[in-house]
């Protein structure tokens, strides 16, 4: 790790001020940032710790509206009775991010802000039409995720919460990369008033995306059988030593089936 200045913010306003320093980075759970700094791939001059800001903690559910403050850990989401009550698929997703130790530290805000192309949350947020709330504005998920590690966040902008209306049904299935255990392909399906959105993570060469083929098939019938014979083009999918684009294309359909099966209980 290069030399860095550590600053702990007590409020969102204080964090925003600290982040004005050139080359500052926000630090939440640190599960991606700290390893990147250790390998010297990331070299901010200042890191601003958001983990101790009370306003960034907690989960609220009112009816089917769920709001998760940004510094809420994966373990907290996984264990949340409020979330489970209206959207168990998100608890399932959170319970399968990384490993128990990572889930104790990693946060939803950090994951969303980082937008790793193999992270789990972006698929859920995109499929559920969630809104990303920052200290400056509200951003729809459709406008938020901009490609590999790219988001609509501006310099110094801080995610304060993620909010969504729980869909009627939702499910998430992922096939983990055997080494890193990130999603090699993960599919989140959400059904709302008969409309289905299916977002894919881990597979796209430009980050999380919606699969038109899967959505079309599932909008006809929200059943795994509806995906029988459906194929997804491999053209814009990632290929690496772990999986070819063709294999990922297959996994999208298989994981979509499993996500639907889960959504249908």
């Amino acid at each position: 790790m290069y030399s860095v200045s550590y600053q702990r913010a007590g409020t969102i306003a204080e964090a925003a001020k600290l982040l004005e320093a050139g080359d500052a980075a926000a630090l939440s759970g640190g599960m991606t940032l700290i390893p990147a700094m250790k390998t010297r791939l990331s070299a901010p001059s200042t890191i601003v710790d958001l983990r101790h800001i009370p306003a960034l903690k907690g989960i609220r559910a009112t009816g089917r509206r769920v709001t998760i403050a940004a510094a809420t850990t994966h373990a907290e989401v996984a264990a949340s009775a409020e979330v489970k009550g209206v959207c168990p698929a998100l608890c399932h997703l959170a319970a399968h991010i990384g490993d128990p130790h990572v889930r104790h530290m990693g946060t939803i805000g950090g994951s969303v802000a980082n937008n790793d192309p193999a992270a789990d949350y972006p698929a859920a947020l995109l499929a559920m039409e969630a809104t990303i709330v920052t200290n400056k504005r509200d951003i729809a998920a459709d406008q938020f995720f901009k490609g590999l590690f790219e988001t609509a966040l501006e310099e110094g902008e801080i995610i304060t919460a993620v909010t969504f209306e729980a869909p009627d049904q939702a499910g998430y299935a992922k096939f983990p990369n055997p080494a890193s255990r990130y999603a090699m392909t993960g599919v989140f399906v959400a059904r709302r008033s008969g409309q289905v959105r299916a977002a894919v993570t881990g597979a796209g060469d430009d980050g999380v995306f919606r699969s038109a083929e899967v959505e079309t098939a599932l909008s006809r019938s929200f059943d795994p059988a509806a995906l029988q014979g459906v194929s997804v083009p491999a053209g814009n999918l990632m290929g690496d030593i772990h999986a070819s684009p063709e294999y990922r294309a297959n996994l999208i359909v298989v994981m979509a089936k499993r996500a639907v099966a889960q959504a249908n209980g």
């Binding site: 030399s3 010297r40 055997p178 999986a243």
Partner: protein, 784 residues
């Protein structure tokens, strides 16, 4: 002493410190004034070095020194060597290229060390390492051994034309060709044995401390054989004369072969300490381990196995290309030769065998022994071929094996080995019973109803351990003898210290070695201490690898105990005025048989050290040393059965049952033996399903340089194992032991792949059988 002696399931004496966080690993060592080293490594797979400029780095905060290959050479530090001479079939010696601990004018793999920075903190050393300015002239690289032999391939060492280190063969070519020509059936296979990274959980580390007052160097290092390290560093690398060099291998966090070898870093830390006048510690990070630990396997072979009309094997011909990486590591040449081709008879009576092996330089990390070393390569090749032959011949894989088993011992194979004892059918039957082999069809049908493809596969392995009679290995090219030493000290008040040249890095020697002493002398386990891993304490030893510490290391202890007992009997007879022949040793005392006369050990030891009343002419003290040189290899063998379920949608393989039936000869502690088998199987399953080391063929960059890309077996990837042992004692050593450390890693890979290929109905599958590969093989098979 049944409770604590030989055969008892005793919990380990060493565990207390590990479970309470009090283990002492090299990185835990702190020496006053200690500073930290970071190596500057080549980012290129192949390049000339045109200049190394350290001026900027030298001025960085905390920097004490920046040292280069030129300075190292100027100080007379030697090149790293391979200590096992192999001659090609044309009689020429192997072609060893120069390997400087710090590269001088050329780098040959990504990670090749070029310079070292010593600084107050590791972070400062790393900051400065980035400021070392090295100008490289990039060259084309080659990572595949097959490609490296092709005309026009990039050339690594001027000494080795066409990158060929040796072209060696073993066996009778004419007889083998004749057998193939007259065969009723020949099974032909193209076998690839994947490259692996050993990945002991403790990264390698070294701490060199030069003491100017005494002109003496102490080196703490993560070694499986500190005495060999001292010998080689003294005799070949000019680090210091043996009497001025102490090597300590304290608690070592796993080795699996990778910590046998003497690497550049320990040599450089010792030299740098002398150069900078501060103790210098280096600890590898994981990516450095991936880049620079000696890798394992990486063979490509063509196989022909010939059968007569009665399905008896009449010949086996093997042509292997072995990737050695950029430099010849310490024992690299022995692995694909005398630890590989000599095992190609397997458990089978094969009248004619011929193996040809070409060893090849490539722009990759050096390759050397990794758990099993040569024997997994032989076993995988043979057992994949046997299973395939059974399918081609339309016979039961078990019965084809049984028909060809060697049943009479000793048995001389056509490839040097003389098997001393074994009963292969016993292991086969035990494994088949434990796996409910007969019930497989029903389980397969039940799995099919759930949409899963179930398969079963077996592997009957044999291996050779102990390595081995010194004169024999000497005649085959070894630069060292492979005996072991022991010293048994009965202290003045009766506690016992055993000094051994074996080194425990997870094997539990502190417990098993003490169990032997307890068994022999009748003293409590707690009164026995095992001392190892320090050249100042233990006079000499050859270390731990090749599953040798029981069969060879404990045999040396046994021999030393013979001498201790002999002297103790004389003293006891003298003290009790009895006949020496009437003295028996039991319950912690020396007794006169048939009387109530008895001298406890503490009293006898005190008598030996006070020397007030010893037999006339006897030297005081009670301490004996023995060297044990084995009379043969030992031959553990067994049968493994793996059962898998494949998810046809994803190609994911789940191992639903794994059975091991091993014959290890006599066993000291079944709990520890089982642990060794569990760990070995998990490594074999890792090789078969998960682990593959990938270099980019064009750039020579290591693509699997961290756990993000190299798949380590996790708890969820392996099942609980069903294991059992049968025990035909080894006639070759006093304890009847064979060795159990490597068997699991040797026997399991073919069982796994045989099971998967059985499940998917396609034989076209190579290791690691990742989900994608299985899915693709399935898809290809359905298309046909």
């Amino acid at each position: 002493m049944g409770m604590e002696g030989v055969g008892a399931r005793v919990t380990r004496k060493e565990d207390k410190r590990f479970i309470t966080g009090l283990g002492r690993f090299v990185d835990d060592m702190v020496v006053p004034g200690m500073k930290h080293a970071v190596f500057v490594r080549s980012p290129h797979a192949h390049a000339g070095i045109t200049s190394v400029d350290v001026t900027r780095a030298e001025t960085m905060p905390g920097v004490i020194g920046v040292l280069t290959g030129r300075q190292l050479k100027a100080d007379g530090i030697g090149n790293l060597i391979c200590g096992w001479m192999i001659h090609s079939k044309d009689g020429t010696p192997m072609k060893m290229g120069a390997w400087s601990p710090l590269a001088v004018d050329r780098v040959r793999y990504v990670g090749d060390a070029v310079a070292v920075v010593v600084a107050d903190t590791r972070a400062q050393a790393r900051d400065a390492a980035e400021a070392v300015d090295i100008a490289y002239e990039e060259k084309d690289a080659v990572t595949s051994a097959v490609r490296a032999l092709e005309p026009g391939a990039p050339q690594l060492h001027p000494e080795a034309e066409n990158n060929l280190i040796f072209d060696w063969s073993l066996g009778d070519l004419a007889a083998t060709d004749a057998a193939i020509a007259r065969a009723a059936h020949v099974t032909r296979m193209h076998i690839v044995n994947n490259r692996l990274v050993p990945n002991a959980m403790e990264p390698r580390a070294a701490l060199g401390h030069y003491n100017r007052a005494e002109d003496h160097t102490t080196c703490w290092t993560t070694s499986q054989n500190p005495h060999v390290a001292r010998l080689v560093m003294s005799a070949f690398y000019n680090v210091a004369p043996e009497n001025k060099l102490r090597v300590i291998a304290p608690d070592v966090g796993g080795g699996f072969g990778s910590k046998i070898f003497i690497y550049p870093e320990e040599v450089v830390c010792c030299w740098a300490s002398k150069k900078t006048n501060v103790p210098v510690k280096w600890v590898a990070d994981r990516t450095e381990s991936f880049l620079t630990d000696a890798h394992g396997r990486d063979h490509v072979s063509e196989v022909e196995m010939a059968f007569d009309a009665d399905n008896r094997i009449i010949g086996l011909k093997v042509d292997t290309i072995a990737n050695f990486g950029a430099y010849m590591s310490l024992f690299s040449s022995s692995v694909p030769t005398y630890l590989y081709a000599t095992l190609l008879s397997g458990q089978y009576d094969i009248p004619a065998i011929h193996a040809n092996v070409r060893a090849v330089y490539t722009n990759t990390a050096p390759v050397d022994a990794y758990r099993g070393a040569g024997r997994p390569e032989a076993t995988y090749l043979l057992e994949r071929t046997m299973e395939t032959a059974a399918r081609e011949l339309g016979v039961s894989p078990a019965e084809l094996r049984r028909k060809n088993f060697i049943t009479e011992f000793p048995h001389q194979t056509p490839v040097i080995m003389n098997y001393d004892a074994g009963d292969y059918a016993v292991s086969l039957d035990a494994a088949m019973n434990a796996a409910d082999y007969q019930g497989f069809a029903a389980r397969k049908a039940e799995a099919a109803a759930r949409g899963k493809l179930r398969g079963i596969g077996m592997s009957s392995y044999i291996e050779a351990c102990g390595i081995a009679p010194s004169a024999a290995v000497g005649s085959l090219g070894a630069g060292v003898g492979l005996w072991e030493s022991a010293e048994v000290r009965v202290n003045a008040v009766g506690t016992i210290e055993v000094l051994t040249g074996s080194h425990s890095h997870g094997q539990g020697h502190e417990t098993t070695f003490a169990q032997l002493v307890t068994q022999r002398l009748g003293v409590p386990l707690d009164s026995v201490s095992i001392v190892h891993g320090d050249t100042d304490k233990v006079q000499m030893g050859m270390g731990t690898y090749g599953s040798r510490s029981g069969a060879v290391g404990m045999s040396a202890i046994s021999k030393a105990l013979d001498k201790v007992e002999a002297k103790a009997r004389k003293i006891a007879a003298h003290l009790m005025e009895a006949d020496e022949g009437d003295i028996v040793i039991e319950d912690g005392a020396l007794k006169v048989a048939g009387t109530d006369k008895s001298v406890p050990w503490f009293q006898l030891a005190l008598a030996a050290y006070t020397a007030h009343n010893l037999p006339a002419g006897m030297e005081p003290g009670l301490k004996e040393t023995a060297f044990y040189d084995p009379s043969n290899f030992t031959f553990p063998a067994g049968c493994y059965i793996c059962e898998v379920e494949i998810d046809p949608d994803t190609g994911h393989t789940a191992i639903v049952q794994f059975v091991a039936a091993d014959d290890f000869g006599n066993i000291i502690n079944p709990m520890i033996v089982e642990g060794q088998v569990h760990g070995g199987i998990a490594q074999g399953v890792g090789q078969a399903l998960l682990e593959g080391c990938h270099y980019d063929p064009a750039s020579g960059q290591l693509l699997t340089a961290s756990y993000m890309d190299y798949t380590m077996p996790r708890a969820g990837d392996v099942p609980s194992f069903q294991i059992s042992t049968s025990n035909t004692p080894c006639p070759g050593n006093p304890l009847g032991m064979k060795g159990c450390g490597e068997a699991g890693a040797i026997g399991s890979p073919p069982a796994v792949i045989n099971a998967i290929t059985d499940a998917i109905g396609s034989n076209d599958l190579s290791m690691p059988a990742t989900s994608e590969r299985v899915w693709a093989a399935l898809k290809a098979a359905t298309r046909h």
